[in-house]
């Protein structure tokens, strides 16, 4: 608990994340409006007792739309980061443990994926598959898996050389057992940190693609789409874009702070030295 209090990033970030995720899950219970309920007398209204966050151009309640939007934005991010972490970890474990030609081929494939600027990779996948929630998740997974593969491979390479692995081999443990029981636990800390920070990035990427009109398609009320649609009324009513952007920023800020805090917590060197140390493989 004391360690937690000395780590304000973790505390503040965690609180923001928990509140937003709970609100997204409880969406039907924390608003009395339906997604498509229109109130034409109250178009473009500012926050009021009736509409907590105001309304859009059709008089639809923005609090409701942003709550449901959170489900899509966070959902897409969590699923794609989760998939990327699983794929990347499996690939990294195998490449690091078996080495040789397999490792060489895998790492060259990773290099090719890293040769794309991230958003351009996502654009290419969406261009090939077409828009939609599932395709967007595939696109983001294609962007993110390489990070995990590289980090897990590096850890596996170093762990493989330590005596306990040789001991496990000597008592006849299978490679699968060694990877899952012995080496994987060493990777979980860095994977968790990467994934937490990755969710923030994925939310920005999802809303960016939806903003460009090539991500999740309307009428799904994603944050990026609400922001981009609100831009049409920027002169008359800047509120709609502002509040949607604020939602994205707050959520991303929450995940980033939480991830930074986790990193401090899981890397004791940095706690004892009391400063941010070398960022190593994780990092920006």
């Amino acid at each position: 608990m004391k360690r937690l209090l000395r780590n304000p990033s973790l505390l503040i970030g965690g609180t923001i994340v928990v509140i937003i995720v709970l609100l997204a899950i409880a969406a039907p219970w924390v608003t009395t409006y339906q997604l498509e309920d229109m109130d034409m007398r109250n178009r473009f209204s500012l926050p009021s007792a009736e509409h907590w966050l105001g309304t859009d151009n059709f008089g639809r309640d923005l609090w409701t739309r942003l709550l449901y939007g959170a489900r899509i934005s966070i959902g897409v991010a969590v699923v794609s980061v989760g998939l990327a972490a699983i794929i990347g970890t499996l690939v990294g474990l195998a490449a690091g443990y078996f080495g040789g030609l397999f490792d060489l081929i895998v790492m060259r494939i990773v290099d090719v994926f890293l040769g794309f600027p991230p958003l351009i990779m996502a654009l290419t996948v969406v261009a090939a598959l077409g828009p939609g929630v599932t395709n967007l998740m595939i696109a983001l997974t294609a962007v993110f898996w390489t990070e995990y593969a590289r980090v897990v491979r590096a850890i596996t390479l170093s762990q493989r050389e330590i005596d306990y692995v040789a001991a496990a081999q000597a008592v006849g443990a299978s490679w699968a057992r060694i990877l899952v029981v012995h080496i994987l636990p060493n990777c979980l800390g860095p994977i968790t940190v990467l994934a937490t920070l990755g969710i923030g990035t994925a939310i920005v990427a999802e809303s960016g693609l939806s903003f460009l009109g090539i991500g999740v398609e309307p009428p799904t009320p994603t944050w990026g789409w609400t922001l981009s649609y609100g831009m049409r009324f920027l002169r008359a009513d800047p509120w709609m874009s502002t509040i949607a952007g604020l939602c994205i920023m707050l959520t991303v800020l929450g995940f980033n702070l939480f991830g930074d805090g986790l990193r401090d917590l899981l890397d004791p060197r940095r706690i004892t030295s009391g400063r941010r140390g070398r960022r190593g493989a994780i990092a920006e």
């Binding site: 060259r108 794309f116 958003l119 920027l234 952007g245 800020l253 941010r276």
Partner: protein, 326 residues
């Protein structure tokens, strides 16, 4: 050094080839039927068949790829399905605008990020450090398109100081005009460039400031710093001449990697400010399912990214001889 440069250059070739293969597979195998995209629903089966033959779509994938690579080697990126120009013309017409935006944004990012990082490291734990890192955290969390909209609303819509969309004359042309005694062109170019470049630069500045701070803090605790103080050098000289020089090395290599994110951000920024660059072109191409054009734009982005990383690596090796012997 020449050996290192040659090796580094050679390593680029398989990677670029891999990128070409991957893009080709993604867009031509899962990307759908170009003939159908081009003719729409009105095409008769005979017309479709003829067009497929013309585009080699009736041939096996290996033949299609060999034909594509053969043309690519001659600098032929194909013909856009909808722009009534070749992909090379379409891309080269837009490349300058994107490069100009990205480079100016990177300059802004370095000019803000490096001093901020130094300040935060030198005054570690104090108010200015906390303030700088708060700025960095906000800058990282703020989506570039939202930043763009806020800046546009403030400076273009409300205050009416700067134009909201479009581009003036290319910066290089404007600078030449300046020397011909016509400063108005340059002012107009800068006015158009200001909002997009700041939008794109601030996020990168936030990340650079964190990198500089963390590298400076690492370096500050090394022995040679104590030696420098023991020699009787003042804090300013130690910080700028000794610590910063060493701390900037990892930062330089990271800036190359960050350039990829900057290019992605440029796509979004171009969308907001109607900046006529590759980003806008790619979004239009995706919406029209113009496969040859998408392919060309994506390859151009990847090539730019690879070249920047090459330049950064070579610069890094030139500054730090240890790198060459790794």
């Amino acid at each position: 050094m020449i050996g290192y440069a040659a090796r580094r250059l050679l390593l680029m070739i398989p990677m670029l080839f891999g990128i070409i293969v991957l893009v080709f597979l993604m867009l031509n195998v899962i990307g759908g039927d170009q003939a159908l995209v081009l003719l729409g629903q009105e095409g008769t089966p005979e017309q479709l068949e003829a067009l497929r033959r013309e585009l080699l779509l009736d041939q096996p994938l290996t033949v299609q790829f060999a034909a594509y690579i053969g043309k690519l080697a001659q600098g032929d990126l194909g013909y856009s399905l909808f722009q009534s120009q070749s992909v090379l013309e379409a891309v080269s017409g837009r490349l300058g605008a994107t490069l100009e935006l990205a480079i100016v944004a990177l300059l802004i990012a370095i000019l803000i990020g490096v001093p901020l990082g130094i300040l935060a490291a030198v005054r570690h734990g104090r108010a200015s450090d906390i303030f700088a890192m708060l700025f960095a955290q906000l800058g990282i969390s703020m989506p570039v398109f939202w930043m763009g909209i806020l800046l546009m609303f403030l400076f273009a819509v409300t205050l009416d100081w700067l134009p909201a969309i479009g581009r003036g004359e290319p910066l290089l042309v404007a600078i030449v005009d300046l020397f011909r005694g016509n400063p108005a062109v340059l002012l107009d170019s800068l006015a158009h460039l200001a909002l997009p470049a700041i939008t794109l630069g601030v996020g990168a500045a936030a990340i650079i400031s964190r990198l500089v701070r963390s590298a400076m803090l690492d370096t500050l605790s090394l022995d040679f710093v104590r030696t420098a103080y023991a020699k009787g050098l003042g804090p300013a000289r130690v910080t700028l001449a000794h610590v910063l020089r060493n701390a900037l090395l990892p930062v330089v290599s990271m800036i190359g990697l960050r350039f990829g994110a900057l290019l992605g951000g440029a796509v979004l920024t171009e969308g907001i400010f109607g900046w006529p660059g590759l980003g806008q072109l790619s979004v239009a191409a995706i919406n029209q399912r113009d496969i040859p054009l998408i392919q060309g734009v994506v390859l151009t982005f990847a090539l730019m990214f690879a070249l920047v990383n090459l330049i950064v690596d070579l610069a890094y090796a030139a500054i730090d001889p240890r790198i060459r012997y790794d």
